[in-house]
């Protein structure tokens, strides 16, 4: 049955949740808990922490995130095409060439705009 496969997935998810929960619960029973002020301080190599931890970080991380979103979503179109490729004609190849070349243009664009360069910003 089609559904059974997903029952298995569900079981895996259940186990995946169960293990950490169980382990952490057991750990809570076993482990000591003696919080002192110093122990709960944010770790900064032994120095007094300065400022907040959640600082503004570099823009490049966002740019990579954007790039990822764009390219990863394109694979959503590549996969069905790849699955059906053998049944499709020459035109599927042409269409995919167009599609991939558009992707490549996007990549070139990002490249020339120095988005891919970690130190550019």
């Amino acid at each position: 049955m089609y559904m059974n496969n997903y029952v298995i997935v569900a079981i895996f998810i259940g186990l995946g949740i169960f293990l950490p929960v169980a382990a952490l619960t057991i750990g809570r029973i076993l482990r000591p808990s003696k919080p002192v002020y110093e122990k709960l301080t944010t770790y900064e190599s032994g120095n007094e922490p300065v400022g907040v931890g959640q600082v503004r970080f570099n823009i490049r991380y966002y740019l990579f995130a954007l790039m990822f979103v764009i390219f990863d979503v394109e694979t959503v179109f590549l996969y069905p095409w790849a699955v059906a490729y053998k049944q499709l004609g020459l035109f599927a190849l042409v269409e995919m060439l167009i599609f991939v070349s558009l992707l490549v243009v996007g990549l070139i664009y990002a490249w020339r705009k120095k988005v891919l360069q970690w130190t550019s910003l």
Binding site: G89, F91, E95, L102, V105, I108, Y109, R112, K113
Partner: protein, 514 residues
């Protein structure tokens, strides 16, 4: 599902779109690889050239036989492109000409007029118009919900970016972000409505949906209403019709002026194209049967929407001090006017609502682009888009002021201009269908609009502070005069354009699919 691949012979049919795609790619690559010192106006001219080429392709295809399959013209069979999801009919071709023409004028007015410090990426500024107008063209041509949606989003997403093109200006950022968020919400609303249409018909083809809805189970009528109102809300946003208009003034104000013109004209036109298609492709013909009353109600809702847009647009415009916001509200009001012919259905004596619509759309495009071009001159000289900036324009640039007067007369709907005849034809349509209340609202709000349109004239003629002449760039001047002469010509000889539209457009072929 029967899916039909694209044939090589279809490439000619798709030439206008393909031109734009290729041009967009090539020009962007050129922009990437030519050195920084090269003047980016070159890209502007290239963009303009590609728009013109695309327009030529459209005009080669437009004609009374445009939908006949070119592969075997004798058969007289209709061209079935991509399983009916893409329709190159004259409805689409006419709108495409308007869309391309407007975009061409907007690009023309931007070349050499946009300030470097304002827009850092001038190259992108030019060629981003290409995917945007491509999206608009796809929308106009689509016969399928998916195509329609993709086209709409191509247009919308590109527009978000174009609005935010002034990276350093926080008004531009703010406008762009608002536009993006609300645009996404409206897209989601449209999609949600579409999902119900799909659910009730099992197809995304407009014609199939129409057929399915007519045979649908009576218990679905609630769902039909839900989907209709979701679509209406979403499209209402895209065309900036009140009460879904709140984004427009902020976005218009924030965007660079040529982009504002683009939003006001091309985006809006594309929204109307879909609305027209969907209303007549999906909901029209569902009236009459007691189980499916949606047809009448749908068109009545459109009338109400039109009335609200006219009233709110014109009344709120009265308070504006910024010319861009004023034109935004004027655009909202005009959305109302343009909705009227769509809401006015066909009847025996009234079969022309598409030509009324297309005529006014063309007039609207010309007069608005002209007005924005004048505004660009004002912005260049005064640095702001306040209405005060127009003060004494007649003494500083008399010819520009004269053109502006003609454009304003057209916007206000005073004879003998294109805007006047556009409204006149729309009015006649409503009166022929005996929707007197709508006609009355349309006229009354037009009179209200005199006040704020003429406030610009008052500034130009009655408040003079200085008489130092203002210089215009040649491209701006050409744009303004093309628009002005076009507007006046449409007024002096309306049957030229209208008759041509009537010749091209065949109701049964171009609107009722199949």
């Amino acid at each position: 599902m029967e899916q039909q691949g694209l044939q090589l012979s279809d490439l000619y049919t798709l030439a206008p779109e393909l031109t734009l795609v290729i041009a967009a790619i090539v020009i962007s690559l050129i922009d990437l690889f030519i050195p920084k010192q090269v003047n980016r106006s070159l890209l502007g001219w290239l963009t303009l050239a590609s728009i013109i080429v695309s327009g030529v392709f459209v005009s080669l295809q437009i004609g009374p036989t445009s939908l006949i399959d070119p592969a075997n013209p004798e058969s007289g069979e209709l061209l079935n492109l991509l399983g009916g999801s893409y329709r190159v009919d004259n409805f689409a071709n006419l709108l495409k000409l308007i869309l391309l023409g407007s975009t061409g004028l907007i690009i023309l007015m931007s070349i050499g007029s946009v300030k470097e410090e304002d827009i850092p990426h001038k190259g992108e500024f030019y060629y981003f118009f290409l995917p945007a107008v491509l999206g608009a063209m796809i929308t106009a041509s689509s016969g399928d919900l998916i195509t329609l949606f993709v086209g709409l989003e191509l247009l919308s997403i590109t527009s978000y970016i174009m609005v935010g093109m002034r990276k350093k200006d926080h008004k531009s950022n703010e406008g762009a972000f608002k536009y993006a968020i609300l645009g996404a919400v409206s897209s989601a609303t449209i999609l949600y409505g579409m999902s119900f249409l799909y659910g009730m018909s099992g197809s995304t083809n407009l014609m199939a949906i129409n057929a399915a809805l007519q045979q649908a189970d009576p218990s679905f009528s609630a769902l039909i209403y839900v989907s209709f109102f979701l679509l209406l809300a979403g499209f209402g946003f895209k065309i900036a019709a009140a009460p879904f208009h709140n984004w427009a003034p902020d976005v218009y104000q924030g965007a660079p002026t040529p982009v504002t013109a683009f939003l006001a004209v091309v985006s809006k036109a594309a929204g109307f194209a879909i609305l027209f298609r969907v209303m007549y492709g999906v909901f029209y013909g569902n009236s009459g049967t007691p189980e499916h009353p949606i047809g009448e109600d749908a068109f009545f809702s459109l009338s109400v929407l039109a009335a609200i847009a006219m009233i709110i647009g014109n009344v709120t415009a009265l308070r504006q001090k910024n010319a861009k916001r004023l034109l935004a509200y004027s655009g909202i009001a005009n959305a109302g006017y343009l909705l009227v012919p769509i809401a006015t259905q066909f009847s025996l004596v009234h079969y022309t609502n598409f030509s009324e619509f297309a005529y006014y759309l063309l007039a609207y495009a010309l007069m608005n682009i002209g007005a924005f071009a004048v505004l660009l001159i004002i912005e260049r000289s005064t640095g702001s888009s306040e209405i005060r900036g127009y003060a004494g324009l007649y003494y500083r640039a008399p010819w520009t002021a004269a053109a502006m007067v003609l454009l304003i007369l057209s916007l206000a709907g005073i004879p003998v201009t294109g805007g006047f005849f556009g409204k006149l034809f729309i009015l006649m349509g409503t009166l022929q269908n005996q929707t007197y209340w709508l006609a009355a609202i349309m006229l009354a709000t037009s009179v209200v609009s005199y006040y704020f349109y003429f406030s610009i004239i008052r500034q130009m003629f009655m408040r003079s502070d200085e008489s130092s002449p203002i210089r215009t760039t040649p491209t701006l001047g050409i744009t303004i005069w093309i628009c002005t002469i076009g507007t006046v010509a449409m007024g002096a000889y309306p049957q030229g354009v209208l008759g041509w539209i009537q010749d091209m457009f065949k109701l049964t072929r171009d609107l009722f699919i199949g």
